[in-house]
């Protein structure tokens, strides 16, 4: 039985250890924040210039000068600090962020990631994604295992333009958790009653047990 989106987020949250500085991408990765264990002090960075991101504001308390990288209104915490975009990406590029969780269009078995551009379609831009995958210590991809058109997303080689080359450390999908080690995809955990054959069937990459 595949994991629900909520279960996927909960599983991803397990990667967030006490004391980690973490950047969560836009979309499903943002929801991972809801599953951080209460006893873990996980500090969220937002690449538009904030460390120590709090929850969304209570209605009526939103501040237009306080947004996250998804342009959502958020709140501060006692330990919050603000900084410029140059300092923020110095933090990211300099390897100070422990972990980032991002979405993907394709992940290749060598760790290549494509998540910003489909040729021929209007491109919105890579935002901070290329910097995050280049600089953050551990990159975790949280994605549906298969694209809406049925094509595999876990592939032997990315056909879409890359966001980063050999940058992905782990993939979490509704089928399980997969680690990318030495340019191979290894099953680390499977969703309940999911077999490795099912995963192989839904993947184009070679999946090692």
């Amino acid at each position: 039985m595949v994991w629900s989106r909520d279960e996927m987020c909960a599983r991803a949250a397990k990667e967030l250890k006490d004391g980690y500085y973490v950047n969560l991408g836009i979309g499903m990765p943002t929801l991972v924040a809801n599953h951080i264990p209460k006893d873990a002090n996980v500090i969220l960075q937002s690449e538009n210039g904030m460390l120590g991101m709090g929850p969304f504001p209570i209605e009526g308390e939103e501040d237009p000068d306080l947004i996250n990288a998804g342009k959502q209104t958020i709140t501060a915490l006692p330990m919050t600090s603000y900084f410029s975009s140059a300092d923020s990406f110095g933090m990211i590029r300099g390897g100070h962020i422990d972990l980032s969780i991002l979405g993907a269009m394709q992940v290749a078995q060598n760790g290549d990631l494509a998540n910003w551009m489909i040729p021929g379609k209007m491109i919105k831009g890579m935002g901070g994604a290329m910097d995050l995958v280049a600089g953050v210590k551990k990159v975790v991809i949280l994605m549906e295992h298969v694209a809406k058109d049925g094509s595999a997303k876990l592939v032997s080689n990315c056909t879409l333009p890359l966001t980063g080359a050999k940058v992905v450390d782990m993939v979490i999908s509704e089928y399980g958790v997969f680690e990318i080690v030495d340019e191979c995809v290894k099953v680390s955990e499977l969703a309940p009653e999911i077999s490795i054959e099912e995963v192989r069937d839904k993947s184009q990459a070679e999946i090692l047990s």
């Binding site: 209605e59 947004i67 923020s88 110095g90 990211i92 831009g125 290329m130 280049a134 600089g135």
Partner: protein, 234 residues
């Protein structure tokens, strides 16, 4: 040396011209120089190369200058959420250069700090690296990126004094302090204009040396793109 101008139109006089390179602060609609963008729209200056993380939205931010077709090229990291931009881009009316957000920030910072070029791991092995020098340092691949400067930087701060010292508020800081350093002329728009000495010298984010002109803005829209709230008892 008076740096204070009475309004955005006056502040723009003599420093904006057709074909200029413009830097415009802000992340999304957060921390954008609203009144200076109004003045630029009124000026009818055209053929602008705009360096800005985003392109505003329809009817707000740089979206206003897209409506009037004053921008011919954008250097940005993300231009989603803007129908006019998409239209003009697909029509070939506007040129677009995507930069990874951190590379954009660092190129601007380098421009202000006299660094002509630097190496970054960001984008190595991707389309972004095409046409750029790649080079290994300690076994890892990096690409060379060049600095950016502007004829005019328009930035937004929370408080400023008559010497041009500036303090930003929360995440409205973003690209503003870097762009302040990279403009041949920088015009700062502030919500509160105070006398020198009213800002704590240890807390000043942008030193007055980077600001040639300053105005007190007013009537801020500060539109929120993605209003997101939670219930009080969540």
């Amino acid at each position: 040396m008076n740096k204070i101008y009475s309004n955005s139109k006056e502040a723009l006089e003599g420093v904006a011209f057709d074909g200029m390179v413009l830097m415009c602060g802000g992340f999304g609609l957060c921390g954008i120089p609203e009144r200076m963008i109004d003045a630029l729209k009124e000026s009818k200056i055209k053929n602008i190369t705009a360096i800005s993380n985003n392109a505003g939205i329809d009817g707000e931010g740089l979206g206003l200058l897209l409506e009037t077709k004053q921008i011919s090229k954008m250097i940005s990291s993300y231009v989603g959420e803007n129908k006019i931009f998409a239209e003009q881009y697909l029509n070939g009316e506007i040129e677009l250069e995507f930069n990874p957000q951190g590379t954009l920030a660092e190129r601007i910072r380098a421009g202000g700090a006299g660094i002509p070029a630097f190496y970054t791991p960001t984008g190595a092995g991707t389309k972004i690296a095409e046409g750029k020098e790649a080079r290994q340092f300690e076994g890892r691949e990096y690409i060379m990126e060049k600095s950016l400067r502007a004829d005019l930087s328009l930035i937004k701060a929370w408080k400023g004094d008559s010497e041009g010292n500036l303090i930003y508020k929360k995440t409205a800081r973003n690209f503003n302090p870097l762009m302040a350093t990279a403009g041949k002329i920088t015009i700062a728009e502030v919500e509160h204009l105070v006398e020198p000495g009213k800002l704590d010298a240890d807390q000043i984010h942008t030193s007055g040396i980077f600001v040639q002109r300053i105005i007190k803005g007013s009537h801020y829209n500060k539109r929120i793109e993605n209003l997101t709230t939670r219930k009080a008892n969540d």
